[in-house]
Amino acid sequence: MNPLDLSRIQFGDTAAFHILWPLMSIGLALYMFVMEAMWLYSGHESYYRQARFWTKIFILTFAIGVASGFPLAFQFGTNWAAFSAATGSFFGNIMGFETTVAFTLETASLGILVFGWKRVSRTVHLLSNFGVLLGASLSAFWIMVANSWMQLPEGIHMQNGLIIVDNYRAAIFNPDSLVSFGHMWVACIESTLFLMAGICAWALIQNTRGTEPYTDEKRARSAFFINAFKYCLVIAIAITPIQALLGDMSGRVVAEYQPEKLAAMELTWNTNAPGTGAPFAVVAWPQAGGGSNAAALEIPNALSILTTHSDTGTVLGLNSFPADDQPTVVESVFIFYAFRLMVLIGVVLIGLTLCGVWYWYSGRLSIEKISKHMGFWKLWVYAIPLGFIATEAGWMVREIGRQPWIMYHVMRTADGLSSNLESPVTALVIGVITAVYCALLWLFIYFTRRIVQSGPDLTSPLP
């Protein structure tokens, strides 16, 4: 394989793994902050216990997130030197903001958050918790600004092969950046909520097995996890519909500014004639070599309605773009199904939330009734990976759909590569890093399982 393909694999590999951890860091930091603030506000010890318990898992996600993020930052230079040299004056600038403005705040606050319980006042500690949340969110914001500028490089012009920034406001707040940041930030919260709710469900199932009547200790532990489950549910009610809305906004930005990507992710080959609507394909399979679909199950006019909010809105097809300027057929099929998977999961998570609310409303979320509704709790355990899968699928649509451009309509991916890379070296790096990443994921699951099994500390003195 050539260094270009290998470098793309290396970047995709490291990015796909790295994204899991900031996702959880942001979600857990928000939850911890809400709990600690509630504790200071109300004085109820149970909120403090919540904050302390989930911090243990947060520490793991943060450490692995930092560790897996380093290769990404270095890779812009090692594997994509031509891209970095050309775009550094904006892209590098934004990465500089990410490290100085966001990451330093997060790491320094984290030291106090983790080790400072007996060394600083409660208010300073709450502030450090907020610093972690703000730092992590700002980090996500600057990364999304950098990435959305690769999607829509506005406010710049090229001069002698280098980017000159003409308008910072236009470059930073391009039409994609705020919508995409919102979509991603909410994805962080949503994925983490379903992870946490799934962990609670798992702990409740474990706690119930073969133990009736309850001991006081087990009862306290189950009460802890049921409370956490309910808090997650409350946040999920607000978050899941917002995410659907942000997804719709995000889709319309793509439709307006990246029509090739939209056509590829919908496998739409021909532009709809004026006065007619473009259909939405639920499933589709293209002819060999592209040009049209061999088979498709379509809903009439639905794609026009989704992207333009009008039943006869124009949706450009892939055939109206030069073949060199659009994703390949294989890439298109891939993102077609990745997109549908993401949407499907979004709908399933809304349904699961409503189901949870119904169980709560009808009084079935109590310690005594856990063993009667095992199916319900197991459903939440199975849902643990869904949010993460949806996020990964969404990112694949976003990044693969941009091909063959590294900077949309400005620079091709092949032109961004470093000089004189050697395939065996890059292949070795991919092998080593992937092996390390797999080990880290395994260790995370192992340690998290142990943390949950040993349960929250409900007796130590308050700080």
Binding site: G96, T104, T107, Y168, N420, L443
Partner: protein, 338 residues
């Protein structure tokens, strides 16, 4: 501020960030190297406990320097990492290992695995940094604004000496940091070991300085033509004399606190000497500060965005170090909720 001053301004900011990184994380990496020496497991655990709250904030300075370098001097970031692909990836793997070793050590039942990974990962980072610095000073071949050499150009005798020098100097820094800690019990004979490592550092860096003009033409010119050669010799002799004086003082006074700050000073002098020797080049002998700089409007925008934050970042890092400075030996940290 005039446009021509902006690249210089950023050059000094990035040098400052890198110097902070070396001074702060250098000690942490040095402690990692020392953890590889044969000793009791409880000593190793104590090393990790001492670093727990601060290592992450220290390491962040490397990311800060890299991020600002990317924005202010993108050509250097691109060409440098392209040429130093292999050392860069060694550093990355080391950093991954070190970052997770701390937290897994805290959670694990069999802690010795993780204290070992902490040591080995620190070693990888140190070796990678030595190779990168050697490769950079040895010269990177550039044609048409792109890296034009092979991925193995950095592997020279100069690089070997640099790696040895950095290894020993970090060990010195790690030791001097540790013996100030009341919780660190293994202090007997440490002054002698510090002096040994310091001597080895001196020898390795002296040999590297002698080899440098043969490897990179720029340094040959500078070290052999007046007036620059007089200035460089004067600086080298001055640093050597100060080092000897500090060494004498260390033997005589055996004062850990003073020794630590003397070491920091020496590191700062050494770094400053290297900067004087390479100015105005970022990648000697081909890329200067001014040739590699981003356009003035970018540098100005970055200065407004980042400049006011740097004092704030410094302030809360200082606050962090103050909170966790020299814990009492009997006090246990409650961070991981155990």
């Amino acid at each position: 501020m005039s446009d021509s001053m902006l690249p210089l301004m950023w050059y000094f900011i990035i040098c400052g960030e890198l110097a902070l990184y070396i001074l702060l994380d250098g000690a942490n990496l040095g402690i990692g190297l020392l953890s590889l020496l044969p000793q009791q497991e409880s000593e190793r655990s104590r090393m990790l406990d001492i670093l727990g709250p601060i290592w992450n904030a220290n390491e962040t300075w490397l990311l800060v320097a890299a991020g600002t370098l990317f924005g202010a001097f993108p050509a250097v970031y691109a060409i440098g990492l392209n040429a130093l692909y292999v050392p860069g990836m060694i550093i990355v793997v080391g950093i991954i290992g070190r970052a997770v070793a701390f937290e897994f050590h805290a959670y694990a039942v069999r802690k010795e695995i993780w204290s070992r990974i902490f040591g080995v990962a620190s070693l990888l980072v140190v070796v990678g940094q030595g190779c990168a610095l050697g490769g950079l000073l040895g010269g990177i071949s550039i044609a048409d604004g792109h890296f034009a050499g092979t991925l193995w150009d950095w592997a020279t005798p100069l690089t070997l000496l640099m790696a040895v020098g950095i290894f020993c100097s970090y060990a010195v820094l790690g030791y001097t940091y540790l013996i100030r800690e009341e919780r660190y019990a293994n202090k007997s004979g440490s002054f002698n070991r510090i002096l040994t490592y310091a001597g080895l550092t001196g020898v390795a860096l002296l040999l590297a300085t002698l080899l440098l003009p043969r490897t990179n033409y720029l340094f040959f010119t500078r070290w052999s033509t007046p007036p620059s050669m007089y200035a460089l010799y004067a600086i080298a002799v001055a640093i050597a004399l100060i080092a000897l004086w500090f060494g004498y003082d260390a033997v005589r006074a055996q004062h850990p606190e003073r020794l630590y700050y003397q070491c920091l000073l020496l590191f700062a002098f050494g770094t400053a000497g290297m900067l004087v020797g390479t100015y105005p080049y970022l990648v000697p002998p081909s890329v200067t500060i001014f040739a590699a700089a981003s356009p003035a409007n970018t540098l100005r925008f970055m200065l407004w965005g980042i400049g006011p934050l740097l004092p704030i970042i410094l302030a809360y890092n200082w606050y962090l170090h103050r909170i966790f400075r020299r814990q009492m030996p009997q006090e246990t940290l409650t961070g991981y909720g155990e």
